[in-house]
Protein backbone atom coordinates (compact mmCIF):
# COMPACT_ATOMS: atom_id res chain seq x y z
CA UNK A 1 0.00 0.00 0.00
CA UNK A 2 2.86 2.38 -0.43
CA UNK A 3 1.30 4.13 -3.38
CA UNK A 4 1.81 7.57 -1.83
CA UNK A 5 5.41 6.64 -1.23
CA UNK A 6 7.56 8.49 1.27
CA UNK A 7 6.73 9.25 4.92
CA UNK A 8 3.34 7.64 5.56
CA UNK A 9 3.73 4.81 8.05
CA UNK A 10 1.23 2.05 7.70
CA UNK A 11 0.27 -0.30 10.48
CA UNK A 12 -0.68 -3.11 8.20
CA UNK A 13 -4.11 -3.40 9.84
CA UNK A 14 -6.07 -1.47 7.24
CA UNK A 15 -9.38 -3.10 6.54
CA UNK A 16 -8.97 -5.45 9.49
CA UNK A 17 -11.03 -5.41 12.71
CA UNK A 18 -8.74 -3.05 14.63
CA UNK A 19 -7.80 -0.93 11.63
CA UNK A 20 -10.23 1.84 12.57
CA UNK A 21 -13.38 3.00 10.94
CA UNK A 22 -15.19 -0.03 12.26
CA UNK A 23 -18.52 0.01 14.09
CA UNK A 24 -18.64 -3.42 15.73
CA UNK A 25 -21.62 -2.44 17.87
CA UNK A 26 -23.44 -0.89 14.91
CA UNK A 27 -24.35 2.09 17.02
CA UNK A 28 -23.21 5.68 16.64
CA UNK A 29 -20.84 7.28 19.12
CA UNK A 30 -23.58 9.48 20.61
CA UNK A 31 -25.99 6.64 21.16
CA UNK A 32 -23.36 4.47 22.78
CA UNK A 33 -22.30 7.25 25.11
CA UNK A 34 -25.94 7.76 26.08
CA UNK A 35 -26.12 4.05 26.92
CA UNK A 36 -22.99 4.22 29.05
CA UNK A 37 -24.27 7.32 30.83
CA UNK A 38 -27.48 5.43 31.54
CA UNK A 39 -25.49 2.53 33.01
CA UNK A 40 -23.70 4.86 35.42
CA UNK A 41 -26.89 6.71 36.31
CA UNK A 42 -28.63 3.38 36.90
CA UNK A 43 -25.90 2.50 39.37
CA UNK A 44 -26.37 5.83 41.16
CA UNK A 45 -30.08 5.17 41.57
CA UNK A 46 -29.42 1.60 42.67
CA UNK A 47 -27.04 2.97 45.27
CA UNK A 48 -29.83 5.17 46.65
CA UNK A 49 -32.43 2.42 46.59
CA UNK A 50 -30.01 -0.07 48.16
CA UNK A 51 -29.27 2.49 50.90
CA UNK A 52 -33.01 2.77 51.43
CA UNK A 53 -33.15 -1.02 51.73
CA UNK A 54 -30.25 -0.93 54.19
CA UNK A 55 -32.04 1.55 56.47
CA UNK A 56 -35.28 -0.31 56.14
CA UNK A 57 -33.70 -3.65 57.08
CA UNK A 58 -32.09 -1.87 60.03
CA UNK A 59 -35.50 -0.75 61.35
CA UNK A 60 -37.58 -3.52 59.79
CA UNK A 61 -39.83 -3.88 62.86
CA UNK A 62 -40.86 -0.23 63.01
CA UNK A 63 -40.68 1.02 59.40
CA UNK A 64 -43.72 3.08 58.23
CA UNK A 65 -46.29 1.25 56.08
CA UNK A 66 -46.43 3.16 52.76
CA UNK A 67 -50.14 2.39 52.28
CA UNK A 68 -50.90 4.43 55.40
CA UNK A 69 -48.63 7.32 54.42
CA UNK A 70 -49.68 8.03 50.83
CA UNK A 71 -53.47 7.92 50.92
CA UNK A 72 -54.38 11.26 49.39
CA UNK A 73 -55.80 12.08 45.98
CA UNK A 74 -56.38 15.69 44.83
CA UNK A 75 -60.01 16.89 45.00
CA UNK A 76 -60.98 13.85 47.08
CA UNK A 77 -60.36 15.33 50.47
CA UNK A 78 -60.62 13.20 53.58
CA UNK A 79 -60.88 9.88 51.75
CA UNK A 80 -58.30 7.18 52.27
CA UNK A 81 -57.27 5.96 48.83
CA UNK A 82 -53.87 4.30 49.05
CA UNK A 83 -51.94 3.74 45.80
CA UNK A 84 -54.47 5.40 43.50
CA UNK A 85 -52.61 8.65 42.99
CA UNK A 86 -49.20 7.07 42.56
CA UNK A 87 -50.69 4.56 40.12
CA UNK A 88 -51.97 7.53 38.12
CA UNK A 89 -48.48 9.08 38.17
CA UNK A 90 -46.95 5.80 36.99
CA UNK A 91 -49.43 5.58 34.16
CA UNK A 92 -48.73 9.17 33.07
CA UNK A 93 -45.01 8.43 32.89
CA UNK A 94 -45.51 5.19 30.95
CA UNK A 95 -47.84 7.05 28.58
CA UNK A 96 -45.24 9.76 27.97
CA UNK A 97 -42.72 7.00 27.30
CA UNK A 98 -45.06 5.63 24.66
CA UNK A 99 -45.44 9.00 22.92
CA UNK A 100 -41.64 9.35 23.04
CA UNK A 101 -41.07 5.99 21.33
CA UNK A 102 -43.74 6.92 18.78
CA UNK A 103 -41.81 10.13 18.10
CA UNK A 104 -38.64 8.07 17.56
CA UNK A 105 -40.56 5.79 15.20
CA UNK A 106 -41.93 8.77 13.26
CA UNK A 107 -38.36 10.10 13.10
CA UNK A 108 -37.24 6.89 11.39
CA UNK A 109 -39.82 7.64 8.69
CA UNK A 110 -38.62 11.28 8.52
CA UNK A 111 -42.14 12.40 9.34
CA UNK A 112 -41.60 15.86 10.81
CA UNK A 113 -45.27 16.53 11.61
CA UNK A 114 -45.73 13.39 13.65
CA UNK A 115 -42.43 13.82 15.51
CA UNK A 116 -43.55 17.33 16.49
CA UNK A 117 -46.91 16.16 17.85
CA UNK A 118 -45.48 13.20 19.77
CA UNK A 119 -42.63 15.26 21.25
CA UNK A 120 -45.19 17.83 22.39
CA UNK A 121 -47.32 15.15 24.07
CA UNK A 122 -44.21 13.73 25.75
CA UNK A 123 -43.37 17.14 27.21
CA UNK A 124 -46.94 17.57 28.49
CA UNK A 125 -46.79 14.13 30.14
CA UNK A 126 -43.51 15.03 31.82
CA UNK A 127 -44.93 18.29 33.14
CA UNK A 128 -48.01 16.55 34.55
CA UNK A 129 -45.73 14.06 36.30
CA UNK A 130 -43.50 16.74 37.85
CA UNK A 131 -46.59 18.68 38.95
CA UNK A 132 -48.07 15.56 40.55
CA UNK A 133 -44.85 14.93 42.38
CA UNK A 134 -44.86 18.50 43.71
CA UNK A 135 -48.38 17.91 45.04
CA UNK A 136 -47.30 14.63 46.61
CA UNK A 137 -44.42 16.39 48.34
CA UNK A 138 -46.61 19.23 49.57
CA UNK A 139 -49.13 16.78 51.05
CA UNK A 140 -46.37 14.75 52.69
CA UNK A 141 -44.69 17.84 54.18
CA UNK A 142 -47.94 19.29 55.47
CA UNK A 143 -48.92 16.03 57.16
CA UNK A 144 -52.35 14.95 58.21
CA UNK A 145 -52.84 13.61 61.72
CA UNK A 146 -49.90 14.87 63.76
CA UNK A 147 -48.03 12.75 66.30
CA UNK A 148 -45.89 12.82 69.42
CA UNK A 149 -42.17 12.13 69.32
CA UNK A 150 -40.64 10.46 72.38
CA UNK A 151 -37.28 11.13 74.00
CA UNK A 152 -35.90 8.13 72.15
CA UNK A 153 -37.09 9.51 68.82
CA UNK A 154 -40.01 7.08 68.42
CA UNK A 155 -43.31 8.29 66.99
CA UNK A 156 -46.60 7.81 68.86
CA UNK A 157 -49.79 8.27 66.83
CA UNK A 158 -53.44 8.37 67.92
CA UNK A 159 -56.35 6.09 67.02
CA UNK A 160 -59.94 5.63 68.20
CA UNK A 161 -61.51 2.43 69.56
CA UNK A 162 -61.96 1.04 66.06
CA UNK A 163 -58.31 1.56 65.16
CA UNK A 164 -59.00 4.52 62.85
CA UNK A 165 -56.47 7.33 62.92
CA UNK A 166 -57.40 10.46 64.86
CA UNK A 167 -55.86 13.86 64.14
CA UNK A 168 -54.51 16.02 66.96
CA UNK A 169 -56.94 18.80 65.97
CA UNK A 170 -59.87 16.48 66.75
CA UNK A 171 -59.14 16.10 70.45
CA UNK A 172 -56.52 18.66 71.49
CA UNK A 173 -57.33 22.27 72.32
CA UNK A 174 -54.59 24.80 71.73
CA UNK A 175 -54.20 27.14 74.69
CA UNK A 176 -52.47 30.51 74.78
CA UNK A 177 -48.81 30.00 73.95
CA UNK A 178 -46.09 32.01 75.61
CA UNK A 179 -43.39 30.88 73.22
CA UNK A 180 -43.09 32.86 70.02
CA UNK A 181 -41.22 31.69 66.96
CA UNK A 182 -37.64 32.94 66.99
CA UNK A 183 -36.74 34.65 63.77
CA UNK A 184 -33.57 36.34 62.59
CA UNK A 185 -34.99 39.83 63.14
CA UNK A 186 -36.06 39.00 66.72
CA UNK A 187 -32.75 38.03 68.29
CA UNK A 188 -29.24 37.40 67.08
CA UNK A 189 -28.92 37.40 63.29
CA UNK A 190 -27.73 33.82 62.98
CA UNK A 191 -30.41 32.34 65.23
CA UNK A 192 -33.81 31.26 63.97
CA UNK A 193 -36.08 28.24 64.16
CA UNK A 194 -38.71 26.48 62.10
CA UNK A 195 -42.47 26.74 62.49
CA UNK A 196 -43.61 25.91 66.03
CA UNK A 197 -46.16 23.10 66.45
CA UNK A 198 -49.79 24.13 66.99
CA UNK A 199 -49.96 22.31 70.32
CA UNK A 200 -47.69 21.61 73.26
CA UNK A 201 -47.15 18.12 74.70
CA UNK A 202 -49.07 19.16 77.87
CA UNK A 203 -52.09 20.13 75.77
CA UNK A 204 -51.97 16.76 74.02
CA UNK A 205 -51.83 15.03 77.43
CA UNK A 206 -54.90 16.87 78.73
CA UNK A 207 -56.72 16.24 75.44
CA UNK A 208 -55.95 12.54 75.72
CA UNK A 209 -57.13 12.47 79.36
CA UNK A 210 -60.46 14.04 78.52
CA UNK A 211 -61.19 11.74 75.55
CA UNK A 212 -61.75 8.21 76.86
CA UNK A 213 -61.90 6.60 73.43
CA UNK A 214 -58.49 7.63 72.15
CA UNK A 215 -55.54 5.27 72.24
CA UNK A 216 -51.87 5.48 71.29
CA UNK A 217 -50.46 3.56 68.36
CA UNK A 218 -46.71 2.80 68.36
CA UNK A 219 -44.48 2.10 65.37
CA UNK A 220 -43.94 -1.57 66.26
CA UNK A 221 -45.34 -3.89 63.62
CA UNK A 222 -47.11 -6.93 65.12
CA UNK A 223 -47.30 -10.44 63.68
CA UNK A 224 -50.33 -9.48 61.51
CA UNK A 225 -48.34 -6.73 59.80
CA UNK A 226 -50.21 -3.93 61.61
CA UNK A 227 -48.92 -1.26 63.96
CA UNK A 228 -49.34 -2.05 67.68
CA UNK A 229 -52.14 -0.23 69.56
CA UNK A 230 -51.61 0.29 73.30
CA UNK A 231 -54.21 -0.07 76.06
CA UNK A 232 -55.74 3.07 77.53
CA UNK A 233 -53.53 3.04 80.68
CA UNK A 234 -50.44 2.24 78.68
CA UNK A 235 -51.29 5.04 76.21
CA UNK A 236 -51.51 7.69 78.95
CA UNK A 237 -48.36 6.37 80.58
CA UNK A 238 -46.33 6.45 77.35
CA UNK A 239 -47.35 10.00 76.43
CA UNK A 240 -46.81 11.38 79.94
CA UNK A 241 -43.55 9.60 80.57
CA UNK A 242 -41.84 9.77 77.17
CA UNK A 243 -43.61 12.44 75.08
CA UNK A 244 -41.16 15.17 74.15
CA UNK A 245 -42.26 16.94 70.94
CA UNK A 246 -45.41 17.47 68.93
CA UNK A 247 -44.73 16.63 65.28
CA UNK A 248 -46.94 17.83 62.44
CA UNK A 249 -45.98 16.79 58.93
CA UNK A 250 -42.52 15.77 57.84
CA UNK A 251 -39.17 17.32 57.03
CA UNK A 252 -35.56 16.14 57.13
CA UNK A 253 -35.48 16.12 60.96
CA UNK A 254 -38.85 14.85 62.10
CA UNK A 255 -41.59 12.80 60.48
CA UNK A 256 -45.09 12.25 61.84
CA UNK A 257 -45.43 9.02 59.82
CA UNK A 258 -42.59 7.24 61.63
CA UNK A 259 -38.84 6.97 61.20
CA UNK A 260 -37.29 10.28 60.02
CA UNK A 261 -35.12 8.17 57.69
CA UNK A 262 -38.24 7.30 55.73
CA UNK A 263 -38.86 10.98 55.02
CA UNK A 264 -35.18 11.60 54.26
CA UNK A 265 -35.08 8.84 51.66
CA UNK A 266 -38.46 9.86 50.26
CA UNK A 267 -37.26 13.42 49.69
CA UNK A 268 -33.88 12.33 48.39
CA UNK A 269 -34.87 9.56 46.00
CA UNK A 270 -38.10 11.00 44.61
CA UNK A 271 -36.39 14.40 44.54
CA UNK A 272 -33.46 13.06 42.54
CA UNK A 273 -35.85 11.28 40.22
CA UNK A 274 -38.02 14.39 39.89
CA UNK A 275 -34.88 16.35 39.01
CA UNK A 276 -34.21 13.84 36.24
CA UNK A 277 -37.76 14.23 34.93
CA UNK A 278 -37.40 18.00 35.07
CA UNK A 279 -34.11 18.02 33.17
CA UNK A 280 -35.61 15.48 30.74
CA UNK A 281 -38.47 17.90 30.06
CA UNK A 282 -35.98 20.73 29.44
CA UNK A 283 -33.95 18.58 27.01
CA UNK A 284 -37.16 17.44 25.32
CA UNK A 285 -38.20 21.07 24.84
CA UNK A 286 -34.85 21.90 23.23
CA UNK A 287 -35.16 18.93 20.86
CA UNK A 288 -38.80 19.84 20.20
CA UNK A 289 -37.76 23.28 18.96
CA UNK A 290 -34.98 21.75 16.87
CA UNK A 291 -37.58 19.51 15.26
CA UNK A 292 -39.83 22.48 14.50
CA UNK A 293 -36.90 24.46 13.10
CA UNK A 294 -36.16 21.55 10.77
CA UNK A 295 -32.65 20.87 12.07
CA UNK A 296 -33.07 17.11 11.78
CA UNK A 297 -34.99 17.43 8.54
CA UNK A 298 -31.89 19.01 7.01
CA UNK A 299 -29.68 16.38 8.62
CA UNK A 300 -31.89 13.65 7.14
CA UNK A 301 -31.62 11.91 10.51
CA UNK A 302 -33.70 12.14 13.66
CA UNK A 303 -31.12 10.33 15.78
CA UNK A 304 -31.07 13.14 18.36
CA UNK A 305 -34.70 12.34 19.14
CA UNK A 306 -33.69 8.73 19.65
CA UNK A 307 -30.88 9.65 22.06
CA UNK A 308 -33.10 11.92 24.13
CA UNK A 309 -35.70 9.18 23.98
CA UNK A 310 -33.23 6.76 25.59
CA UNK A 311 -32.81 9.17 28.50
CA UNK A 312 -36.55 9.69 28.80
CA UNK A 313 -37.25 5.94 28.89
CA UNK A 314 -34.55 5.54 31.49
CA UNK A 315 -36.35 8.05 33.73
CA UNK A 316 -39.49 5.95 33.31
CA UNK A 317 -37.49 2.80 34.09
CA UNK A 318 -36.19 4.28 37.33
CA UNK A 319 -39.69 5.30 38.36
CA UNK A 320 -40.87 1.70 37.92
CA UNK A 321 -38.34 0.71 40.60
CA UNK A 322 -39.04 3.69 42.88
CA UNK A 323 -42.75 2.82 42.65
CA UNK A 324 -42.08 -0.76 43.71
CA UNK A 325 -39.69 -0.08 46.55
CA UNK A 326 -41.35 3.02 48.00
CA UNK A 327 -45.03 2.27 47.55
CA UNK A 328 -45.51 -1.46 47.06
CA UNK A 329 -42.99 -3.59 48.95
Amino acid sequence: MLLMGTTVVNTGTEGKTWGGGNQPLKASYGKMMMWFFIVSDALTFSGFLAAYGFSRFKFIETWPIADEVFTHVPFLHGQELPMIYVAFMTFILIMSSVTMVLAVDAGHHLNKGKVTIYMFLTIIGGLIFVGSQAWEWATFIKGDFGAIQTKGGNILQFVDNNGHRVALRDFVVAGPHERERLDRNEGVWFMSEGTLPTYTVEEVVSGLESHENILVRTQDINEHGHKTILSREESLKQIKLNGKHVVEGANLHVNEYGSPLFADFFFFITGFHGFHVFSGVIINIIIFFNVILGTYEKRKSYEMVEKVGLYWHFVDLVWVFVFTFFYLV
Binding site: A50, G53, G309, T324
Partner: protein
Protein backbone atom coordinates in the same frame (compact mmCIF):
# COMPACT_ATOMS: atom_id res chain seq x y z
CA UNK B 1 -33.11 4.58 6.06
CA UNK B 2 -33.96 1.02 6.73
CA UNK B 3 -34.48 0.26 10.38
CA UNK B 4 -35.05 -3.37 11.05
CA UNK B 5 -37.22 -3.93 14.10
CA UNK B 6 -37.83 -7.28 15.66
CA UNK B 7 -41.57 -7.42 16.01
CA UNK B 8 -42.03 -10.45 18.26
CA UNK B 9 -42.53 -10.36 22.01
CA UNK B 10 -42.97 -13.18 24.53
CA UNK B 11 -40.61 -15.42 22.52
CA UNK B 12 -42.70 -15.20 19.37
CA UNK B 13 -46.02 -15.80 21.12
CA UNK B 14 -47.26 -12.41 19.91
CA UNK B 15 -46.14 -11.04 16.56
CA UNK B 16 -46.90 -7.48 15.57
CA UNK B 17 -47.37 -6.22 12.04
CA UNK B 18 -45.58 -2.90 12.50
CA UNK B 19 -43.35 -1.15 15.00
CA UNK B 20 -46.16 1.24 15.97
CA UNK B 21 -48.44 -1.67 16.68
CA UNK B 22 -45.75 -3.26 18.83
CA UNK B 23 -45.43 -0.05 20.88
CA UNK B 24 -49.15 -0.07 21.68
CA UNK B 25 -48.98 -3.78 22.44
CA UNK B 26 -46.20 -3.21 24.95
CA UNK B 27 -48.21 -0.36 26.51
CA UNK B 28 -51.12 -2.75 27.04
CA UNK B 29 -48.77 -5.27 28.64
CA UNK B 30 -47.19 -2.66 30.95
CA UNK B 31 -50.63 -1.36 31.94
CA UNK B 32 -51.86 -4.84 32.81
CA UNK B 33 -48.77 -5.55 34.93
CA UNK B 34 -49.07 -2.19 36.74
CA UNK B 35 -52.79 -2.77 37.40
CA UNK B 36 -52.04 -6.19 38.90
CA UNK B 37 -49.42 -4.59 41.15
CA UNK B 38 -51.78 -1.83 42.30
CA UNK B 39 -54.65 -4.23 43.00
CA UNK B 40 -52.37 -6.59 44.94
CA UNK B 41 -50.94 -3.58 46.78
CA UNK B 42 -54.39 -2.41 47.87
CA UNK B 43 -55.94 -5.72 48.92
CA UNK B 44 -52.72 -7.44 50.11
CA UNK B 45 -54.12 -10.99 50.04
CA UNK B 46 -53.52 -12.96 53.26
CA UNK B 47 -52.65 -16.03 51.19
CA UNK B 48 -49.51 -14.34 49.89
CA UNK B 49 -48.14 -13.21 53.25
CA UNK B 50 -46.10 -16.38 53.75
CA UNK B 51 -42.33 -16.15 53.60
CA UNK B 52 -39.99 -17.46 50.93
CA UNK B 53 -36.22 -16.98 51.18
CA UNK B 54 -36.63 -14.47 54.00
CA UNK B 55 -39.12 -12.25 52.19
CA UNK B 56 -42.90 -12.17 51.85
CA UNK B 57 -44.23 -13.98 48.76
CA UNK B 58 -46.20 -10.82 47.88
CA UNK B 59 -42.98 -8.79 47.83
CA UNK B 60 -41.34 -11.38 45.58
CA UNK B 61 -44.29 -11.04 43.20
CA UNK B 62 -43.89 -7.23 43.20
CA UNK B 63 -40.17 -7.46 42.47
CA UNK B 64 -40.61 -10.02 39.68
CA UNK B 65 -43.37 -7.95 38.06
CA UNK B 66 -41.11 -4.89 38.29
CA UNK B 67 -38.32 -6.75 36.51
CA UNK B 68 -40.81 -7.81 33.83
CA UNK B 69 -41.75 -4.16 33.28
CA UNK B 70 -38.09 -3.12 33.26
CA UNK B 71 -37.39 -5.77 30.61
CA UNK B 72 -40.08 -4.50 28.24
CA UNK B 73 -39.17 -0.84 28.75
CA UNK B 74 -35.53 -1.59 27.97
CA UNK B 75 -36.07 -4.11 25.20
CA UNK B 76 -38.90 -2.43 23.29
CA UNK B 77 -39.00 1.25 24.26
CA UNK B 78 -35.22 1.64 24.37
CA UNK B 79 -34.82 -0.71 21.37
CA UNK B 80 -32.40 -3.03 23.15
CA UNK B 81 -34.00 -5.87 21.18
CA UNK B 82 -32.56 -4.35 17.98
CA UNK B 83 -29.02 -3.69 19.25
CA UNK B 84 -26.11 -6.07 18.71
CA UNK B 85 -25.65 -8.76 21.37
CA UNK B 86 -22.29 -7.19 22.35
CA UNK B 87 -23.82 -3.80 23.18
CA UNK B 88 -26.71 -5.45 24.98
CA UNK B 89 -24.43 -7.59 27.15
CA UNK B 90 -22.11 -4.69 27.95
CA UNK B 91 -24.97 -2.62 29.27
CA UNK B 92 -27.21 -5.24 30.88
CA UNK B 93 -24.77 -7.70 32.42
CA UNK B 94 -22.54 -5.00 33.92
CA UNK B 95 -25.47 -3.23 35.52
CA UNK B 96 -27.14 -6.36 36.85
CA UNK B 97 -23.92 -7.76 38.30
CA UNK B 98 -23.00 -4.54 40.10
CA UNK B 99 -26.53 -4.01 41.43
CA UNK B 100 -26.76 -7.55 42.80
CA UNK B 101 -23.41 -7.10 44.50
CA UNK B 102 -24.42 -3.77 46.04
CA UNK B 103 -27.79 -5.10 47.19
CA UNK B 104 -26.27 -8.17 48.81
CA UNK B 105 -23.73 -6.16 50.78
CA UNK B 106 -26.08 -3.42 51.98
CA UNK B 107 -29.06 -5.62 52.84
CA UNK B 108 -26.85 -8.13 54.63
CA UNK B 109 -25.34 -5.34 56.71
CA UNK B 110 -28.74 -3.76 57.43
CA UNK B 111 -30.04 -7.10 58.68
CA UNK B 112 -27.00 -7.49 60.90
CA UNK B 113 -27.46 -4.06 62.51
CA UNK B 114 -31.14 -4.83 63.08
CA UNK B 115 -30.09 -7.99 64.89
CA UNK B 116 -27.70 -6.02 67.10
CA UNK B 117 -30.48 -3.55 67.93
CA UNK B 118 -32.94 -6.29 68.92
CA UNK B 119 -30.72 -8.79 70.68
CA UNK B 120 -27.80 -6.63 71.77
CA UNK B 121 -27.56 -4.22 74.68
CA UNK B 122 -28.98 -1.19 72.93
CA UNK B 123 -32.21 0.40 74.15
CA UNK B 124 -34.27 2.34 71.66
CA UNK B 125 -37.71 2.21 73.27
CA UNK B 126 -37.83 5.27 75.50
Amino acid sequence: MAHAHKLEILRGLIKFKSNTQKIWGVLVLLTIVTSVEVVLGIIKPEALSGHFLGMKILNWIFIILTLVKAYYITWDFMHMRDETPALRRMVVWTTIFLILYLLFILLQEGGYIQEVYTSGYLKRDF
